[in-house]
Amino acid sequence: MRKFSLPLASLIILAMLLSACGTPSGGEIVEVEVTRIVEVEVTTEGDIQVVNAPGYGEILARVQERGRVVCAGRTDLLGFGYLDDDGRNIGFDIDLCRAVAAAVLGDPEAIEIVPVTAAERGPVIQTGEVDLLSRNVTWTSSRDSQWGNFTITMFYDGQGYMVRADSGIKSQDDMDGASVCVTSGTTTEKNLAADFRERGLDFEAVIFEDTSSVYNAFFEGRCDVTTSDRSQLAAIQAGADNPADYMILPMIISKEPLTPVVPHGDDQWFDIVKLVMYALINAENPAYGPITQATVDDVLASDNIKGKTVLGVEGDWGYSSLGLDADALANALRAVGNYGEVYNRYMGPAGIAFTLPRGLNEHWTDGGLIYAPPIK
């Protein structure tokens, strides 16, 4: 019996330690006290009362208490969410998360990126497990109704086809009977099926779980055609041994507005994320400065009223009613720069991931679709 007493004692201590993990400090299980305040007051004349829905303000309170913004992202898509040499998660989608963290907490590093698969994107935002879903999500009506609130489109993509340059394929009509590689669980495979059925064409779908498998199979020759968002096709083409051997066909068969998503039910958080995105977009506008990472202080010293409003030194852009600091947007811009800088960092002419012409993602003053309501 004595022989067993020591292990037994340590087992008990182990159990105690494990249960201690349940407290917030240890942290596997985080219990967050949720107080839902429903303020319903009868408005008397001349007195403006704000009536807030249940859930309002919950997420910001949670984020501030936790000291981190939790974003669903990915580590396996070059340009959008991937790993650098230090194992840090970087990319276009990740920078959007950093901007939000900088705005609400003043620290762009106060983020936690939770990698999720395509299949998990809906559940993690539906359950509010993450504060922000920034992982190439295409905005569709059914997702908008089921998953969460879609903020503002930050990347206009469209589905295209890539073929081998010597295959002689010029359009879908040349693809009858072809094998097509595609990712599963996305809008992409449905668009593909619809496009071929409408034209009465036959095809063999070769469907994979993850993007790298799709492109590997395509390069090996398993498929004649691969289809995906054109941004991804561009990245993949750039990575080919000889990019000139492949060709992205000019047609676009779908709209893929990639949009960050927040959970349903908290309008304050929804507004905050949208405002941060507006700021990134507007800061690129020459009328606002333009404000870049490097010129934030120059604009502060200048007399550009629009620019100074964004930076919080010229009137209230809405921060007081959202419970943020006046320099929230300034922090976001200091952290990641304006939209153009974020884009160019990864996909510009000297981008660290690959080069993709901005196309529809040009700022609206340059003829693109990137447009945001004014900050004032």
Binding site: S179, K190, E220, R222
Partner: protein
């Protein structure tokens, strides 16, 4: 004791009720639908291969069935091949040839110590995808074409009158089996020679000729694959996804079956063999009447769990793009947005498959055990 009965019942049942209540509440709160009404909606997504007609305009229910049939296809073929290969490797492990013995050992150690998922990736991307392209396929007599789009076989198919031939062949087979069993019993009882093999064979032959005549001597035609556009059309095609999954599963499971077979044969007492020789049995008779029946008793139970493992492991198909049950289920969850109903369908189907497999093999097992005892 009675108190313990009641308390345990209350705890278990209470926990189950608590879970059910929570599920319903959460479903209501999050607007999750628990209904199965979506089954008849069009699926809208393509599936790479199917044994029944399917395209994206078919329903979710059909899509699920396609996944199930694909799982069955790879499992049944896989179990057969894995048993054969496993037996060969198991015998090789007992070979007196040092080199063959060590190769078998290396094979087993290689497969038992690497995750199946990694092996499947290697099979698919490193072997099947590196085959020659469709335009430069390997051509084997038959003709059989092998390329990275799959294996294309010339395949006999029934003509319009072929059904008659198939039916008469089937009837002949059944009659032959009945005749075989009856005559064999008769011989065992009376000791007279009843020529059961010859008579059964004659029955088969007659039914085959009859069927041929009835189908106007044209029961079959050969479907030959032809290169057209991008791919071969016609013939019987095995896709590389199916091929890689099948080969991966078979090779992996065979490594485990080999150990089962080796242990089974080694379990047969050497004295049994000597005794068999002493009573004058020939080597083939020793093997068939003494060693195999006894080894089977040891082999069958672990073999059951290996075949079950193969069926369950086929769920890794999603990594290499084979549309099995789990893969299709996952896509359905994404496209229909009904995680809970789809997921419970997938789980229940796997459970039923497992139960059926173990039931069949258990019946077989019991039969072997009884016949052993009665002899």
């Amino acid at each position: 004791m009675a108190a313990a009965q009641v308390i345990s019942a209350i705890i278990v049942i209470g926990a189950l009720i608590w879970i059910a209540v929570n599920v319903l509440e959460a479903a209501k709160l999050r607007g999750l639908s628990l209904g199965f009404d979506f089954i008849n909606d069009p699926a809208g997504f393509p599936i790479s291969e199917s044994v029944i007609p399917y395209d994206d305009s078919y329903t979710f229910g059909t899509a699920f069935l396609v996944g199930l049939l694909n799982t069955l296809k790879v499992s049944i073929v896989g179990i057969l091949l894995a048993t054969i290969l496993g037996t060969i490797v198991g015998l090789a492990r007992l070979s007196t040839n040092w080199l063959v013995n060590k190769i078998a050992l290396a094979y087993i150690e290689l497969h038992r110590n690497v995750p199946l998922l990694v092996l499947l990736f290697i099979w698919y991307f490193a072997i099947f995808n590196k085959l020659p392209p469709a335009k430069g396929s390997l051509e084997l007599p038959g003709p059989i074409y092998l390329n990275q789009r799959g294996l294309y076989l010339s395949w006999p198919r029934l003509t319009e009158t072929g059904g008659v031939f198939a039916i008469s062949l089937l009837v002949g087979l059944i009659v032959a089996i009945i005749v075989w069993i009856y005559l064999r019993r008769l011989r065992e009882r009376s000791g007279r020679s009843t020529y059961f093999a010859g008579v059964s064979f004659a029955v088969m032959l007659v039914s085959a000729v009859l069927g041929l005549a009835l189908s106007a001597w044209q029961p079959l035609w050969i479907d030959i694959p032809v290169f057209e556009g991008f791919n071969f059309t016609g013939g019987l095609r095995l896709t590389p996804e199916f091929g890689a999954l099948l080969v991966g599963l078979v090779m992996y499971t065979a490594a485990f079956i080999a150990e089962v077979v080796r242990a089974g044969i080694q379990a047969v007492n050497l004295g049994q063999m000597e005794a068999a020789k002493a009573v004058g049995l020939k080597p083939m008779q020793t093997l068939g009447l003494v060693i195999i029946p006894q080894a089977m008793r040891v082999i069958i139970p672990p073999l059951i769990s290996q075949t079950l493992n193969l069926t369950k492991n086929s769920s890794l198909a999603l990594a290499i793009g084979y549309a099995d049950l789990f893969n299709v289920g996952r896509i359905m969850i994404n496209q229909a947005g009904r995680a809970v109903p789809v997921f419970s369908m997938v789980m229940v189907t796997y459970l039923v498959l497992s139960l059926i497999t173990s039931l069949i093999l258990n019946i077989y097992n019991r039969k072997i055990q009884i016949s052993e005892r009665s002899s």
